[in-house]
Amino acid sequence: MSERKCTLSVLVENTPGALARIAGLFSGRGFNIDSLCVAETLDPTLSHLTLVTRGDDQIIEQIIKQLRRLIDVYKVVDVTEEGDYVEREMALIKVRAEKENREEIFRICEIFRLKIVDVTPRTYIIEVTGDKDKLEAVIELLQPMGIKEIVRTGTIAMKREKKNI
C-alpha cells in the first residue's frame, strides 16, 4: 500500500495533559507527525489541533481510531480524505537585506504578495502565508539572498463548505 499525506483536524478537551497524550500516542506507537498546530476554539473548553501525518491507509485508519480512543479527544476528521479543503501555513523569514539585494527581495515580495514586517539596516523579516508549495518556492528564491532564520507554523486546514468541525 502506498503512503499518503494526511491532515487531521482534532478537537480535544482543553485540559492539561491532552496534548501530551496525543504526542505520546504518536511516539509510543511509532506514527509520524510532520507538523502540529494547536490553538483555542470559540468554545474555550475545547482546543483545536491540526496534525499532518503520513502512512498507508491501514496506518492512517489506526491513527484516527487511536486518537478517537483517547478519552480527551472529542472529534477527529480526516480533512484530506475527500480532497476538498483549504490548507495554509505561515512562515516568518529573516533574510539578509543589504544594498545589493534589496531590490531583488522587493520584487520577490511583490510577485508573491509577501509582507515585510520588520526592517533593520541589514535584515528584513518577511511574512509568507500560503500552502506548502508556495512557502517552499519563496524559501527557494530567498535562499540566495541569505536566509538567517526561518520559523514556520505548520499547517492548518479546513474542509470547504459545511463539513467544518
Partner: protein, 567 residues
C-alpha cells in the same frame, strides 16, 4: 446541597458509593490523610500489602475474578512507581482497576520535591485514562469519572493522582449519580447490517472456526458463546485470555491457539474458510507470522474497541460493539434464518472429521516418567481433583503455558493470568486479590521457582488476611521458558537462567507461619495434592519437576503457526 468534606473524606466516601469493600495499599507521607480516613471507617477493608506492585496485582486479581473494579492505594514517588508494572499488566489485559496515588502538595509539583515523580506522566501510556486533581472541588466528578471510565467500553486501569493539599482542602461533596463525558462514548450496540453479513458468511461456510478472547470474559458473553457454538456446530478456540469463556471439556473445544497452542487449533485456523473472532485482538503470540495466519479465511471480528479491528490482521466483516450484545443479535439472526442444529451438524461434518484426524494425530501430550515428576502430570491431576472448580492463578513462563494447556477451564473468571504483558510475579498477589473477592472458593497459584520469588514478600499479606491460597511451585531450578528458547534456538547456551541460590521454599512457608511441603516423586503427586486441598491454610507445595521439560507444541517466534515443533 452536599456536605462539606476534606478531599480525603471525599475519596473514602466515593469508594463507598462505588460499592468498594476491599482495597489494597501501602501508606506513605503523601497519602496519609486518606489512611487517616480509612482508620475511621469500618465499611472498607484495607489489605496492607508488602510492596505496592503487590497492591496493583491484587486489585487486578480481585477485578479479574469478580468482575468488579479493583482498587489500589499508594503514596507518591516510589509508591506510585512501584504500581507501574501492575498498572501496565491490567492495561494490556483490559482489566478495570482504579489506582489512587498520593502526590506532593500542588505548590511543590515540579520542584523535585521529596518523593515526587510525574505520576500521570509516567502512567499515561499504560492507563486507559488518568487524572491529576488540582482542585478539591473537582474531586467528586473526577472520582466518578475514574470508576466510570475503568468499567465501561473496553475496560482498563484509571489512575487518580491526589496532591496532599487537595486531600486536606475542603469543599462541598456532591457525588454525581451519573456521569456523561462528551468525548467518551463507547459503542455497545453492534451494527445490525454487519451482524447479518456475518451470519451470511457463517451459513455459507464450509470450515468455520469460532475464536474467543478476553472480551468474552469481560462482557460476560460465555453463555452466548456456548449457545452459538452448539447451534452452529462450530469448533471453538480460546486465546489465553479467553480460556474459561467456553468449557474446556466441551467436545467442541479445541483449546488454545498460537505459540503454545494445540496442533489442532492451529491447523483449524490455518485451514478454516470463515473465522469468527470475538473479543480477541490477534496478538502476535496467537497469529505467529501474520501473512500465514488464517490465509483462506474471511474474518469476522467483533470487538468493543475499534482500534483492535484491522490492527494486526485484515478483517472482512468488522463489528464494533459489546461481545455479549453482538452475539445475542447474531443468535437472533441465526434463529430468524431458521436453519436448525441438524443442518449445521450435517454441513460441517467433513470439517469435523478433518479436525478429529488432527486431534488424533497430535493430541496434547507429554512423556510420563515414573522417576521424575512431569509438570503436565501435576496440572492434569490438579484438574482431575478440582474438576475446574477452582480459581487458578499463574505466574508467567512455562508454568503458565502448562496450566493453559492441561487444565480444562470450564467457567469464566477461573483463570487469572497475565496475558498481554506477561508479568512474572503477578500470580501470587493476584491470588490474594482473587481470594479476597471470593472468600469461599479454592484459589491456587501455579508458580515457577523464578516467578514466585518476584513477589514472595506478599506471603506476609496473605498470612495477615488468613487466606488459604495454595501455591504450587513447579520447581525446575531454571528460568524455564528462557532456558527452553536457549535450548532450541541458542544452541543450549544457558545464559543467566540458573539461579545459584534457590531458597528452601518449605522453610520459607514455615517462616511465615504457612504450611510447606515438598514432593519429588510422581507417586506423591496425587496424594499430596489431595492433602493440600483439605488444608484450610496457606500452603506452599514445592514440586521438584524434570529440570529440562519443555512446553510443546511450540511455534518459533515469527514463524507460521503451522510450523510447530511437536514434543
Amino acid at each position: 446541597m452536599g456536605k462539606i468534606m476534606t478531599g480525603a473524606q471525599m475519596v473514602v466516601e466515593a469508594l463507598k458509593r462505588e460499592g468498594v469493600e476491599v482495597i489494597f495499599g501501602y501508606p506513605g507521607g503523601a497519602i496519609i490523610d486518606i489512611y487517616d480516613e480509612l482508620y475511621k471507617t469500618d465499611s472498607i477493608h484495607h489489605v496492607l500489602v508488602r510492596h505496592e506492585q503487590g497492591a496493583a496485582h491484587a486489585a487486578d486479581g480481585f477485578a479479574r475474578s469478580t468482575g468488579k473494579i479493583g482498587v489500589a492505594l499508594a503514596t507518591s514517588g516510589p509508591g506510585a512507581t512501584n504500581t507501574v508494572t501492575g498498572i501496565a499488566t491490567a492495561y494490556m489485559d483490559s482489566i478495570p482497576i482504579v489506582v489512587l496515588t498520593g502526590q506532593v502538595p500542588t505548590k511543590l509539583i515540579g520542584n523535585d520535591a521529596f518523593q515526587e515523580v510525574d505520576t500521570t506522566g509516567i502512567t499515561r501510556p499504560i492507563t486507559k485514562h488518568n487524572f491529576l486533581v488540582k482542585r478539591v472541588e473537582d474531586l467528586p466528578r473526577v472520582l466518578k469519572a475514574a470508576f466510570y471510565i475503568a468499567r465501561t467500553g473496553r475496560p482498563g486501569p484509571v489512575l487518580v493522582d491526589l496532591p496532599k493539599d487537595v486531600q486536606q482542602a475542603k469543599a462541598e461533596f456532591d457525588y454525581p449519580e451519573e456521569i456523561r463525558l462528551r468525548s467518551y462514548n463507547p459503542t455497545y450496540e453492534p451494527h445490525i447490517k454487519q451482524i447479518e453479513k456475518a451470519y451470511q458468511l457463517l451459513e455459507k461456510a464450509e470450515r468455520p472456526v469460532l475464536l474467543i478472547g478476553g472480551g468474552v470474559i469481560a462482557s460476560g458473553a460465555s453463555s452466548e458463546v456456548l449457545e452459538l457454538a452448539e447451534r452452529l456446530n462450530l469448533p471453538v478456540i480460546m486465546t489465553l485470555m479467553g480460556l474459561g469463556g467456553f468449557p474446556g471439556d466441551h467436545e467442541q473445544s479445541l483449546g488454545m491457539p498460537g505459540m503454545h497452542g494445540t496442533y489442532y487449533a492451529n491447523m483449524a485456523i490455518a485451514n478454516c474458510d470463515v473465522l469468527l473472532a470475538v473479543g480477541a485482538r490477534f496478538d502476535d503470540r496467537v497469529t505467529g507470522r501474520v501473512d500465514a495466519f488464517a490465509p483462506y479465511a474471511k474474518i469476522i471480528h467483533i470487538d468493543i474497541d475499534p482500534t483492535s479491528i484491522q490492527k494486526n490482521v485484515k478483517v472482512d466483516v468488522p463489528i464494533v460493539g459489546d461481545c455479549k450484545r453482538a452475539l445475542a443479535r447474531l443468535l437472533e439472526v441465526v434463529k430468524e434464518a431458521g436453519k436448525n442444529k441438524k443442518y449445521f451438524k450435517e454441513r460441517f461434518k467433513e470439517w469435523w472429521e478433518q479436525i478429529d484426524i488432527w486431534k488424533r494425530r497430535y493430541p496434547l501430550s507429554y512423556k510420563y516418567d515414573p522417576n521424575v515428576i512431569k509438570p503436565q502430570f501435576v496440572i492434569e491431576k490438579l484438574y482431575e481433583l478440582t474438576q475446574g472448580n477452582a480459581i487458578i492463578c499463574t505466574e508467567v513462563g512455562q508454568n503458565q503455558m502448562w496450566t493453559a494447556q492441561f487444565y480444562k477451564f470450564k467457567y469464566p473468571r477461573t483463570l487469572i493470568t497475565s496475558g498481554g504483558l506477561g508479568t512474572m510475579g503477578f500470580g501470587f498477589p493476584a491470588a490474594i486479590g482473587a481470594q479476597m473477592g471470593n472468600p469461599g472458593k479454592l484459589v491456587i497459584d501455579i508458580a515457577g521457582d523464578g516467578s514466585i520469588q518476584m513477589n514472595i514478600q506478599e506471603l506476609a499479606t496473605a498470612m495477615d488476611q488468613r487466606l488459604p491460597i495454595k501455591i504450587i511451585i513447579l520447581n525446575n531450578g531454571y528460568l524455564g521458558m528462557v532456558r527452553q528458547w536457549q535450548e532450541l534456538f541458542y544452541e543450549r547456551r544457558y545464559s543467566a537462567v540458573k539461579f545459584a541460590t534457590i531458597p528452601d521454599f518449605v522453610k520459607i512457608a514455615e517462616a511465615y507461619g504457612a504450611v510447606g511441603l515438598r514432593i519429588t516423586k510422581p507417586e506423591e503427586v496425587e496424594p499430596t495434592l489431595k492433602q493440600i486441598l483439605t488444608i484450610d491454610k496457606l500452603v506452599i507445595l514445592d514440586v521438584i519437576i524434570a529440570p529440562e521439560e519443555g512446553v510443546f507444541p511450540m511455534v518459533p517466534a515469527g514463524k507460521a503457526t503451522t510450523e510447530m515443533i511437536l514434543v
